[in-house]
């Protein structure tokens, strides 16, 4: 349910869908509040152009109630650095135990994590693993992961 709501909330705020998106956003807030978590974080992240590693881990923990499992390759001083699509994909794959392809299992590199999520339809559009992740983009990706988990497809 949360996955569907986030998907709806993170789509472009065009005039036509504004009412739908506002309702969906409200349902996200209610769902998050019901878990005793911070709707302000979601609100702030929707406005973010560049998510950091710390933001990404907090987002996953708040929305899914699953503690994020960052890679040991990320140094502590990099927590406030912008996270890339590839790094965010790797964080999601580790946190939700999403099975990876041959090369991700062998190397654990972010570019292969991003490719695996694109293969599963979780990341859509042109894939640039080194690109930064906006808040809306991160929410959309996380929404698809949760949706597939709810359907038992992950």
């Amino acid at each position: 349910m949360i996955g569907f709501a986030i998907l709806a909330a993170s789509t472009k705020l065009t005039r036509r869908y504004l009412a739908v998106v506002l309702c969906a956003l409200l349902s996200v807030m209610v769902a998050v509040e019901a878990h005793g978590q911070s709707p302000e974080l979601i609100d702030a992240l929707l406005e973010t152009d560049y998510m950091t590693h710390r933001d990404a881990a907090a987002l996953i923990a708040v929305v899914s109630a699953v503690p994020a499992r960052p890679s040991s390759r990320i140094r502590d001083d990099a927590a406030d650095q912008p996270i890339t699509v590839g790094q965010y994909s790797r964080l999601l794959m580790r946190t939700f135990n999403i099975p990876g392809g041959v090369l991700f299992r062998l190397t654990g590199l972010p570019r292969y994590a991003a490719r695996d999520l694109a293969f599963r339809g979780i990341i859509q559009g042109d894939l640039y693993p080194g690109a930064s992740v906006s808040g809306q983009h991160a929410l959309r990706i996380l929404g698809r992961v949760l949706e597939l988990r709810e359907r038992g497809a992950l």
Binding site: G101, R115, A118, Y128, A131, Q136, H137, A153
Partner: protein, 420 residues
């Protein structure tokens, strides 16, 4: 002396090219740092056997690609305005041919809200794949430029390109016998030169989600005007496509062709229906009929710009042929796709095709039938395996165009791909 001059010129060319390359890299590094970049390598191997005494033919390819993008405005996932550069090269290896080919080198741009409307302008230049509406006339990379302007209810596009900088070994732009002979000439590095242009007007979903296309394609042979076997042609295509009822679709494409030195017109037509099962039942069933004209009292032979073949064993040119096909494709699991099709071939005019075993006195127009089965397994994002089995059943005796004794042919192919 001439050899020395050529050598010196080549030396200067190399120096200038190296300096230009180095300068581009030095100047480009700061820019590259600011753009999104993605790259990859794909290793492909394949083996095909005719299931006879001959050993299987094996081959392989290494494909490398690089994509860079600058987002000018909009969401990074679906930008409204952007520039992107795509580069793709391939090293192909077979037992009798090895070559390195530049398949794509394209700079593309997109700008929305043109002149304050909902119009979107897309441009591309460099080497890129050009496909006509029917895909029967042209489906090939060309060096050129294209522009596409689209609104909600109208789309206009134009593309022009040149075929003479493509490698002779890989070019399928073969329209005349001379073009085919040139392909065997190892002294020719580049393909026959032709200027090709396409202009298209589309009315997307103008009525009940039906889409109408009107397209004009032309090509001019750049050989000497006095050369024998020159061929300049033009094609007019009309197409209509859309849903009949939910999950049932159709596509009808009719192309008329005119050649500069031929008064009789040629034509190609194709109609297809398909039914999809939707997300709950991932399957597709389709039926199609196609016709390419041959020499007759009212038609000339259809000559496409790209020389492709119909059938996977028969390999007839798209000329003087009628084919009817039933196909089924099913996806029982997310990693598995299975498809099968049955195709019947007939001659498109009273003339018999140039095939081994044809009975010159044949009265029937039936060529034969092909059955094909394919299975594609993609367990992970980077690993894929495909198996294709095909069989051709010639129509013999009074049934068809072949002599008695012409036997069935079969073919089995296996492909493996790994993405790095």
């Amino acid at each position: 002396m001439a050899t020395i001059r050529v050598s010196k010129r080549n030396g200067w060319v190399r120096v200038v090219a190296a300096l230009s390359g180095a300068l581009t890299i030095v100047l480009g590094l700061p820019v590259l740092h600011a753009v999104d970049t993605s790259w990859g390598l794909a290793l492909d191997g394949n083996a095909v056997t005719a299931l006879e005494d001959a050993p299987p033919e094996a081959g392989g390819a290494v494909t490398g690609w690089l994509r860079s993008r600058v987002v000018l405005s909009g969401d990074p996932v679906a930008p409204r305005r952007f520039l992107d550069l795509a580069l793709q090269g391939r090293f192909q290896y077979t037992s009798d041919l090895q070559f390195l080919d530049l398949e794509t080198l394209r700079l593309r741009g997109q700008w929305d809200a043109i002149a304050g409307t909902d119009g979107v302008l897309r441009t591309q230049t460099g080497r890129f794949r050009v496909v006509d509406r029917s895909s029967a006339v042209l489906d090939h990379p060309l060096d050129g430029a294209g522009v596409d302007l689209s609104w909600r209810s109208l789309r206009v596009s134009a593309t022009a390109g040149y075929s003479g900088w493509l490698l002779n070994a890989v070019s399928r732009v073969r329209m005349t016998d001379q073009d085919v002979l040139d392909q065997q000439n190892e002294d020719l590095h580049f393909a026959p030169g032709r200027i090709i242009g396409i202009a298209r007007i589309s009315l997307p979903e103008f009525m009940r989600r039906q889409t109408f296309d009107l397209e004009l394609t032309g090509q001019r042979d750049l050989r000497d005007a006095a050369a024998a076997d020159r061929l300049d042609t033009g094609y007019l295509t009309i197409a209509l496509t859309g849903p009949v009822v939910p999950r049932v679709y159709y596509d009808v494409v009719v192309t008329a062709m005119a050649a500069a030195d031929e008064m009789t017109p040629a034509a190609h037509a194709r109609g297809s229906f398909w039914i999809t099962g939707g997300a709950a039942v991932p399957m597709r069933v389709s039926a199609s009929v196609g016709w390419a004209s041959g020499r007759s009292a009212v038609t000339a032979p259809f000559v496409p710009i790209t020389r492709d073949a119909v059938g996977s064993i028969l390999l007839l040119p798209v000329q003087n042929v009628v084919q009817g096909q039933l196909a089924l494709s099913v996806r029982p699991a997310s990693f598995l796709q299975v498809s099968t099709d049955a195709t019947v071939f007939l001659i498109g005019s009273s003339r018999l095709p140039d095939l081994a075993g044809v009975n010159p006195a044949a009265e029937s127009g039936l060529i034969g039938a092909e059955l094909t089965g394919r299975m594609a397994i993609r367990p992970t994002s980077d690993l894929g395996v495909g198996v294709t089995a095909a069989s051709f059943f010639p129509a013999t005796g009074s049934w068809g165009i072949f002599n008695e004794g012409v036997t069935n042919q079969a073919r089995l192919g296996v492909e493996v791909s790994l993405g790095l």
